[in-house]
């Protein structure tokens, strides 16, 4: 077992919703994440998965409990924890190249590390689109840029907030494979928030199933399938059925259409 990178220790967080009600977004959540692990947080909306991701990013603070990375407490945002947002978050006034270079500029190392920009353009397969502006590229390409923009900072962990949520299913499958490829190449710890059960099983080492009101972890499910994974395999479908049942989304267990 590889060593622990992130520790989430009895974290509690509320927020005030649109009707001025206090909502318990996270209640007493604890989770350890290993270095280099691919982990998915799955659950219906309102279960606090995005809240947890924002706490890990340091964009919000817990009301009680502690989050730490590499033994150090998370007190604020840091380039060592990259974040890919659900909606298009590319700076519209910068072209693809400038967006990817934004992290270098932000950290004040652009002059010395300029040459790496092209590597990251190539890494996400966007050669030829360097000078395009965000509105000129597709949604899938935009998310690739967002991923490259975070990875150029060499983060220890990449926090992915439903990055494929707004994409069509072909682009989504394509980006999932790209993400696995990057994960293998860079060894970055990946923490993915998703509401797509297949996506969670296809990508993750472990799937964290969360339930809402109050947001808490109901099960941590290891996915012990070899990669590349076959979405139609019996084991896959069984895990899928299990998770759906856990989420109360399926009234009956989904059986494979045939058995070998």
């Amino acid at each position: 077992m590889s060593k622990e990178l992130i520790s989430i220790d009895h974290v509690y967080r509320t927020y005030i919703d649109a009707n001025a009600n206090k909502v318990e977004a996270l209640s007493n959540v604890s989770l350890d994440i290993n270095d280099g692990e691919f982990i998915s947080l799955i659950g219906p909306s309102g279960c606090g998965k995005t809240t947890l991701l924002r706490l890990l990013a340091g964009l919000d603070k817990p009301l009680s409990g502690k989050l730490s990375i590499g033994g150090e407490e998370i007190t604020g945002p840091d380039p060592s924890r990259g974040y890919v947002f659900q909606q298009s978050s590319l700076f519209p006034w910068m072209n693809v190249e400038k967006n990817i270079a934004a992290g270098l500029v932000a950290r004040g190392v652009y002059k010395d590390e300029k040459s790496r920009v092209q590597d990251y353009v190539d890494l996400v397969g966007l050669e030829g689109f360097e000078k395009s502006y965000p509105h000129q590229i597709s949604g899938g390409m935009a998310q690739r840029v967002a991923i490259a923009r975070s990875l150029i900072n060499n983060p220890k962990a990449l926090l992915l907030d439903e990055p494929m949520g707004a994409l069509d299913s072909f682009t989504r499958a394509d980006l999932q494979d790209k993400l696995l490829e990057l994960w293998k190449k860079k060894g970055t710890t990946m923490i993915l928030v998703t509401h797509d059960v297949d996506e969670a099983i296809y990508l993750s080492d472990r799937v964290v199933i969360m339930t809402p009101r109050p947001g808490e972890i109901s099960e941590i499910l290891p996915i012990e399938l070899g990669r590349p994974r076959d979405r139609g395999s019996e084991d896959f479908l069984e895990l899928r059925g299990h998770i759906l049942e856990k989420l109360h989304l399926a009234s009956t267990r989904i059986e494979p259409e045939y058995t070998i």
Partner: protein, 315 residues
């Protein structure tokens, strides 16, 4: 298609040629030297002929040229009618409605004096307008970024900003050492308000997610201000600058009319004192050209800075 182009060239040029023929062959009733007007008509014909040749070569430009040809024809006809009713038939009352020939002669007779005044206006405008824009962006950044500055300065901006700048003229003329500085000050404050207002608004409407991105990428407050909020405000800033330019032209001319030692406004006042209304027309023509050129420069800079919006907005 090439027939269309040829027709467009003929249509464009023929209006001016009609005006020229009328001027040449119909005898004058008023005492006018026509050479400047004739020269301008020939120059316009040659210009549109040259542009027509460009249209024959460039397909993109041809569309534009063909579209405009009717209007260009009408310009020639309007000149011809104006000439007919003034110098040829002497129906329009002098000195208030001089012939085009008389107006055009000003460009030759007062060539040097006009140029001096154009230079004065241009210099005054540039100094005042640029300092107003810089001041406006500066104030806008402070209001848009610091809640405390917004609390104390924004209401002051809202109240003083709607006062027409020229209302301050008596004070400006007393306080500042020269009428040039006073004029520059007035132009600056009239540009200051819309630019400051729009800068602050543009920064305030930056989406939270862009700040979150900047933070997770390691961006300092400085980065969030100058690389996120400010670029986000650029489209608004240019709206402010466009609004400001109209106000600034007005302020320029009024302040020149009310105490300056030069400039087109001064020239108009001076001509009025001599009842030389034909010179006022000449100054108005120059203003139209000069201000159009300034607006063109502003829009070129805008297109360059906001090139990322190309194709994003309905044009």
């Amino acid at each position: 298609m090439s027939d269309n182009k040829a027709l467009a060239i003929i249509v464009s040029v023929i209006g001016f040629l009609i005006a020229l023929a009328l001027n040449l062959f119909v005898p004058d009733k008023q005492d006018v030297i026509q050479k400047a007007y004739r020269f301008i008509l020939i120059a316009l014909s040659v210009l549109y002929l040259a542009l027509g040749i460009r249209a024959l070569i460039s397909r993109d430009y041809a569309k534009k040229y063909i579209f405009k040809s009717k209007f260009i024809f009408a310009m020639g006809i309007v000149l011809a009618v104006w000439d007919l009713f003034s110098s040829k038939l002497d129906i329009l009352e002098m000195p208030f409605f001089p012939s085009p020939g008389k107006v055009c002669m000003v460009f030759i007779d007062e060539y040097e004096f006009l140029l001096q005044n154009v230079y004065y206006s241009l210099r005054l405008f540039t100094v005042g307008f640029l300092s107003g824009i810089i001041l406006g962006i500066g104030t806008g950044i402070l209001i848009g970024w610091f809640a405390r500055v917004k609390y104390w300065v924004f209401p002051v901006l809202k109240i003083t900003g709607i006062i027409p700048a020229v209302a301050w003229m008596p004070f400006a003329l007393t306080i500042f050492p020269t009428s040039f500085v006073a004029g520059a000050f007035l132009i600056a404050i009239c540009a200051w308000f819309p630019v400051a207002f729009m800068t602050a608004q543009g920064m305030a409407t930056t989406q939270q997610v862009y700040f979150d991105v900047a933070k997770t990428l390691g961006g300092s407050t400085w980065y969030q201000l100058f690389r996120v909020a400010l670029p986000n405000a650029f489209p608004n800033i240019f709206t402010g600058i466009s609004t400001a330019s109209g106000l600034a032209f007005t302020t320029l001319i009024v302040s020149e009319m009310m105490g300056a030692q030069g400039g087109l406004g001064y020239y108009i006042n001076w001509s009025k004192a001599w009842s030389a209304y034909y010179k006022i027309y000449a100054a108005i023509v120059i203003m139209a050209i000069l201000f159009s050129l300034i607006l063109k420069v502003v829009s070129l800079i805008q297109g360059r800075v906001l090139r990322w919006q190309k194709g994003l907005l309905y044009e």
